[in-house]
Symmetry: C2
Subunit: 458 residues, 2 copies
């Protein structure tokens, strides 16, 4: 029997693109724990959540029973501008590694925001517009989410206020200009434009910021302004729902060629990419139809899964947000200035945390220099300069492919290549100059974070 030739890039036709998002929670036996009202410690209702989020998004946030949710026509139209994204067969990387493994990556970087973040940004902007809002506020780490949201807001003519983690703001000056080009305002966080920002600056004068701080500021800015709501690019159930488009396209592309992956790998900061990529595969696993190895990769400097605790915690440093049950290092943990700004978050999606706790997925942590080594190797043979975040997944994909080389196994590996590294050249320069440092927090370093965990008995 002759083998089907797999092209370098598998594209779906427009007619094959998903028309519904898949809500993994509907098929989970152990549902992710609900968000809690920080005052009452009771589960947040849709009405309560609607004070912070758009109403429709609040509904999506709590919906753990509807398996498929229609993608509105206007969002599908926008998706068609930059989707479907290609599923790429990494022939050149395979050859370079001399591995019998078959490596595929779903490349989400072929849009100006440079990452998968646009998938949820356009959805959130759409619902904000539909609700008649004037604008939205948000935080951004590496800048990818902020750029994506700026693009989405420009498309729907919404005002966009971005709080950008200070270390990224400084390392990525051009990111700010992309957001400005799309009409957004950008403030480095922590800032003195909010009460919570002022408080954090007072307590930690030299801080380079964190996603946790920036979230607090953005939420305060939204709740205090008429016609504004807060939007978030990761962690939330609604975000994983929108990002399921990644996994659904991936699965459809694989199905077209009867490919069944053995291992699925994604980087994990708050979980938006990983949760989206694995959705339909995890769905099959939850229903007992298939079995896949699913691996979350996180930086050794911010190891929420591998060294965190599964507990209720604040999502933000300022403690203004609802509490979420998740793998967390504690909202008091301020991660080191790792170059993968998008992975510097103390917590993790509640949905993924539950799946991890139930043994349905694995997690590994990797060090920065090894990540950039993989990034450079990948760039040179596959021709794409990857984002530091995405390169965490590349590292582990290469490691798994090298294991196959040893054992001779022809495993099929799929990983998520979430974005490009065009705005990460400061980091690449450090690596090129041999000046990159690897920081792994000691148990002592982790203690303040764990000490900051709230005492919630649920």
């Amino acid at each position: 029997m002759s083998e089907t030739i797999i092209p370098y890039k598998i594209y779906l036709d427009e007619s094959e693109m998903p028309t519904k998002w898949y809500n993994m929670r509907a098929d989970m036996k152990n549902k992710p724990a609900p968000l809690l009202n920080p005052a009452t410690l009771e589960p947040m209702t849709v009405e309560e959540l609607s004070g912070v989020f758009c109403h429709e998004l609040a509904k999506q946030e709590v919906d753990d029973t509807t398996p498929y949710i229609e993608i509105p026509e206007e969002i599908r139209k926008f998706y068609k501008m930059y989707r479907p994204s290609p599923l790429v067969r990494a022939y050149c990387l395979e050859e370079k590694l001399q591995t019998p493994a078959k490596i595929y990556y779903k490349f989400e970087g072929n849009n100006t925001s440079g990452s998968h973040k646009l998938n949820s940004a356009i959805a959130q902007a759409y619902y904000a517009k539909k609700q008649g809002l004037k604008g939205v506020t948000t935080e951004t780490g590496a800048g990818q989410w902020g750029t994506a949201l700026s693009m989405a807001c420009a498309y729907f003519d919404l005002d966009c206020k971005v709080y950008m983690v200070k270390v990224s703001y400084e390392q990525k000056p051009f990111r700010r200009e992309v957001m400005r080009t799309y009409g957004a305002s950008v403030t480095p966080s922590p800032s003195d434009t909010t009460e919570v920002g002022k408080k954090i600056l007072k307590e930690h004068p030299g801080t380079t910021g964190s996603l946790g701080c920036a979230i607090s500021e953005a939420v305060e800015a939204a709740v205090g302004t008429e016609g504004y709501r807060y939007v978030l690019g990761s962690v939330l159930n609604q975000v994983l729902l929108h990002q399921s488009v990644i996994g659904l396209e991936t699965k459809a592309a694989l199905d077209k060629y009867n490919i069944v992956p053995d291992i699925i790998i994604g980087c994990a900061g708050g979980g938006s990419n990983l949760g989206g990529l694995i959705s339909p595969f995890m769905g099959e696993k939850l229903k007992g139809e298939k079995n896949y190895r699913i691996i979350a990769v996180e930086p050794a400097s911010c190891p929420s899964f591998t060294r965190g605790k599964f507990a209720y915690d604040f999502c933000d440093t300022g403690k203004v947000c609802p509490l979420a049950k998740m793998y967390t290092l504690g909202s008091g943990f301020i991660p080191s200035a790792n170059h993968a700004g998008g992975l510097r978050y103390h917590g993790m999606s509640s949905t993924l945390s539950q799946l991890y706790d139930d043994g349905l997925m694995e997690a590994v942590s990797v060090e920065q220099t090894a990540v950039f080594e993989a990034a450079t190797q990948f760039a040179r043979v596959e021709g794409i300069l990857p984002a530091p975040e995405s390169s965490h997944a590349i590292r582990v994909a290469i490691d798994e492919a090298l294991k196959c080389k040893e054992t001779g196994e022809e495993k099929t590996i799929v990983f998520g290549l979430t974005g490009t590294g065009y705005f990460d050249m400061v980091a690449y320069q450090k690596y090129n100059d041999g000046e990159m440092s690897d920081y792994i927090p000691t148990d002592e370093d982790l203690k303040p974070g764990f000490d900051s965990l709230p005492n919630v008995n649920r």
Copy 2:
């Protein structure tokens, strides 16, 4: 009769990708004038050209009779990593402009080099490798060609020395790091590493450089080093040949949906993108099979077509290269620090110059602020942040679409979107801050350039 639905993006299948480049010169009645030996003023032979270029490329340079040239298998393999590039229907731009025109763009920016330059870089690196060379030298303006060549050399394990026009080197510090990540060495030009560089620095101490200077340095560095040859990203016939892959894919994509364009628009610096994009269309025009309006767009600050002379001239400032007959502002013309670094070249492809002189294409020049206005408008609705170079074509495509709005004509406009602007944020920042200047040289400003033209009677 129901109208066929045109998707947002038309992708060819791998099997539909071109297997041969198209050599427009074969169908030209008036052939482009040959390169001249600067010492004898006689046409350069293949043997003479082989001292500067790889042998196979020297042959391609003089071949004006073979219409189709096979794309070697190794190059086609590399093409499959990032090609076919999408032909995009600009539905959102059309809607924004409220024009009856149908606008398409061929997007060449979806690869890490960020532009179409990779199409020729990989071909030139391939032939250098095949000839057993150690490495190649080149110049780069905006940095796109240098990045593309670095990627191509990394793929074939060739050494790569890049002379980068000083103004771009300073405006785009991160470009250097991308090239270094791909293993290239990068020197700002003019530099004191070459004799010609030293001479230019002495004569023009404050110069921000030009492609003409950088070419001289790169040629000197190649000719003086065993196992090295010089490669060039534009102007040359061989480059237009390789870039014909853009036009061939565009035409194949249009043909799939029975679309016949009325107007084809491309930006023109040295002519690599424009020449490639129009190739098959110009072929039909040359054979009298079809008629298209073909428009070259250049910056008002460097108006080779619209204000230059059609004459033999030096290709480089240092006068070390062969002479080419072309529309030129004179090798002594040093263009202002326009942000479209890739369009700051005093001359123009000989092939395109001949076609323009024969009245087979038009040319217009546009000012910088109007270009960035078009770029921003495009970015906000089409979701792609365009390179300043590409935005010249966008400007004229929008202008033509607005004319259609006035007349009610449903013209089909195709333009080349050559690349992305991720490394041009300094320019965007100037535009965002309202600090962009529009410089149009006076006749007086052009005089030194014209005075520098050699006295060649051919």
